[in-house]
Amino acid sequence: MAIAALKRFVADHVAPAAFIPPKPRGEKVAVVGAGPAGLSAAYHLARNGYDVTVFDALSIPGGMMAVGIPDYRLPRKVLQEEIEYIKRMGVDIVPNTVVGKNITLEEIFQRGYKAIFLGIGAHRSHKLGVPGEELSGVLQGVSFLRDFNLGKKVEVGRRVAVIGGGNTAVDAARTALRLGAEQVTIVYRRSREEMPVNKWEVEEAEKEGIAIRFLAAPTWILGTDRVTGLECIGMELGEPDQSGRRRPIPIPGSSFTLEADTVIAAIGQAPDLTVLGKAVKATGWGTIEADPETCATAQPGVFAGGDAVTGAATVIDAVAAGKRAAESIHRYLQGQDLREGRAFDVPKELIAHKELSEDMEYVPRQEVPTLPITERRSNFREVELGLSEEMARREAERCLDCAACAECLQCEAACGPKAIRHQMKEEYVELEVGAIILATGHEFYKPQGLPQYHYGRFPNIIDSMEFERMCNAAGPTGGEILLADGRKPESVAFIHCVGCRDAHSNTYCSRLCCMHAMKQAHLVKEKTGADVYELYIDIRAGGKGYEEFYERVQREGVIFIRGRGAEVIPVDNRLVVKAEDTGLGRPIILPVDLVVLVTGMVARADTAEVAKTFHVTRDKDGFFLEAHPKLRPFHTNTDGIFLAGTCQGPKDIPDTVAHANAAAAEALVLLGRGRVTIEPIIAEIDPDVCAGCKVCVELCAYSAIEFDAERKISQVNGALCKGCGVCVAACPSGAAQAKHFNDVQIMAEIEGVLA
């Protein structure tokens, strides 16, 4: 699966959800650095109700995403939108402020900030350490990209040599090419496999005409005051070093010279710690010393993460560190342990083995379209164009669904009462029981089946369950009735009978949806005062107090229109419901903000399977079938198995409770007696006639027939026999007979009906 490409597709096409501000906590937290680590920490802290200020040394926020990664890989508009979103959450970003110079860490604490996160990145280039580094025409990769991105004048010559093999080197080379360099060569001391950069970035660079000299390192930058060339030496790979990559060793006598008028050094970066003074400790690598998991530094209240701690890495690593730090800061401020109950590693589990069917067709990965090579030079347009919707769908369909859960553990973290235990394993439990009550309930009709309502395609078309969730005080909007963009609706339409009373879905009436649609209409009136329309075929308000409730919502101003909602279409920012008002006898058009599809109850998708397991039958609509529609409404035809609730058919809560109590009572009758009476209809074998052929033994599904080897005859165990008569029909000698259904009786019946 091209996961990155799919994520990009979603990010490009889905606007971030409206931000619902949390309850402010009051504590102030300072974040130093507006790169991905800092912004991620700020985002998560703000979501948690903290008052966050971000200080950044540069004039624009975004860190390396703004001044390192070039436009053709990360369009600035996208970045700007993300940052705007974080700002809208209440995060204050203060530019042009070098912490350590304009304000110190102590001063930040003195200003009332309770904790500080350092996400200062790694913006200082490592020196090449070869003679000639001071010549004009020698540039540092990071500053070259930064100056360019900040709109400063940067010039490159005709022949550019870039030293290094990471993102900075490749981006500097591709930028130089776009600035007009004729010949760009990357000099890298290891081989292609070791390049710490995405494979496809290297391929794109090569397609654009950039040459790469692998296994070569500079030894001397040539020139008197301007660069004229670069002396290099060939390398070979020796034993792996600490990083696991094979260490390059110079090959004596393999020197060569490259002509160059610009040399860009991009061999690695470290954070600029000088400004921070002695407050935080540095590692031997020149990075900030901090716990890689909790992000805590030696100084209480100070946390650090991102490139500043790891050295140059990736945006996603920095975002993850910011998120971890935000959790640690929250725990620190709440006086909790930084580690307790926290999982830092993404748990690795064996993905379920999936049998691939033979006829499964091989579908190749969708190639992400790119800007043609000829259009890339001299501009900074985005190179990777992203998947089209159709391509994204096709790519997503390649997923084999072998692991539906991404093991992100967010559910566990989010559940307050700790009801989710991710590590729990399914187990089979054997229970010995005297009765079984099936109470598996129902599902709701999925409105995708009726395309005229456009459910799932536009945000303000929802079904009754979603509406119910929104009204819930514990729901995503805290019980407020809101549109997708966070506004209050001014008009709402309820369309009744979605998936019911309709030859295209189900013909039955679901019985309770009229009532819950009216309850929901009442809630809309109460909570928003919006105009509410109910489009119905008939109102089914049978039941104690129900008709009175119908009268009441009418008095509250809910407008009832008799006619099935025919279609919902989006027009501008609103939705238009088309219907026929059968009262007026003409078609009507209703412009509204929110449409609620009142969906009916349907049998669960797995009822067929459950029915098989318990030997019960289903009715024409798929619900479990009762033994008799009037006299045995919660019994099944299988002794000891009873039905309760909507698994038998649509019901409201009072009916469900009554049905369930009745089923329980019937089950108790069985248990209370402690004995079961079996039907007298069983098979018997006449020992004098039985020939001992054993035909019957094999046929019995209940193993009720045993063969008596001594007497050489078969015998029926009356307690096991269910009386189907299968053995009787097969017995060649007529020895097996079914009581009450024996051959003589049935023959007489045949004669009787034909007499």
């Binding site: 098989k612 039958t617 599904a701 008569g725 299968v726 079914a738 009906v753």
Partner: protein, 142 residues
């Protein structure tokens, strides 16, 4: 005007599905041909092929065996045995000169009152077209 021929059809119905299905047709007040005379058995697997022969010999113009849909038999697998026995019997009946339309095996569930009515109407129409069988006399005279 000659009176239309009213065939006599014997139906062997399993207790749990088809008999309940016929009951359902009744409770739902569905109108259908009155030509099938029902004999209830616990399972379609109880239907001994000799019952079918007996019915024809006693003067039936058609015989219908109905049970639960495969997989739904109240006794798990009784109807699978029916499914194996009845086609064999059908072949034999054909060799006896009984037209295929006169013998039928059908699956009707307890919920399928309408289906039961349709099966009966169809079969009645078919047998009506074939005319009286008169196997009773035929058997006696040869």
């Amino acid at each position: 005007m000659s009176q239309e021929f009213e065939p006599k059809i014997v139906g062997f119905l399993c207790n749990w599905c088809s008999y309940s299905g016929a009951d359902m047709a009744g409770t739902a007040r569905i109108q259908y041909a009155p030509n099938v005379h029902i004999i209830r058995v616990m399972c379609s697997g109880r239907v001994d092929p000799s019952f079918v022969l007996k019915a024809f010999r006693e003067g039936a113009d058609g015989v219908l065996v109905a049970g639960c849909h495969p997989g739904d038999c109240h006794y798990t697998a009784g109807n699978y045995k029916t499914l194996r026995r009845m086609p064999l019997l059908a072949k034999m009946l054909e060799q006896f000169g009984i037209e295929p339309g006169r013998f039928r095996l059908e699956w009707v569930s307890a919920a399928e009152g309408a289906r039961w009515a349709r099966v009966v109407n169809e079969m009645t129409a078919t047998v009506q077209k074939l005319g009286p069988l008169n196997w009773k006399n035929h058997v006696r005279h040869t």
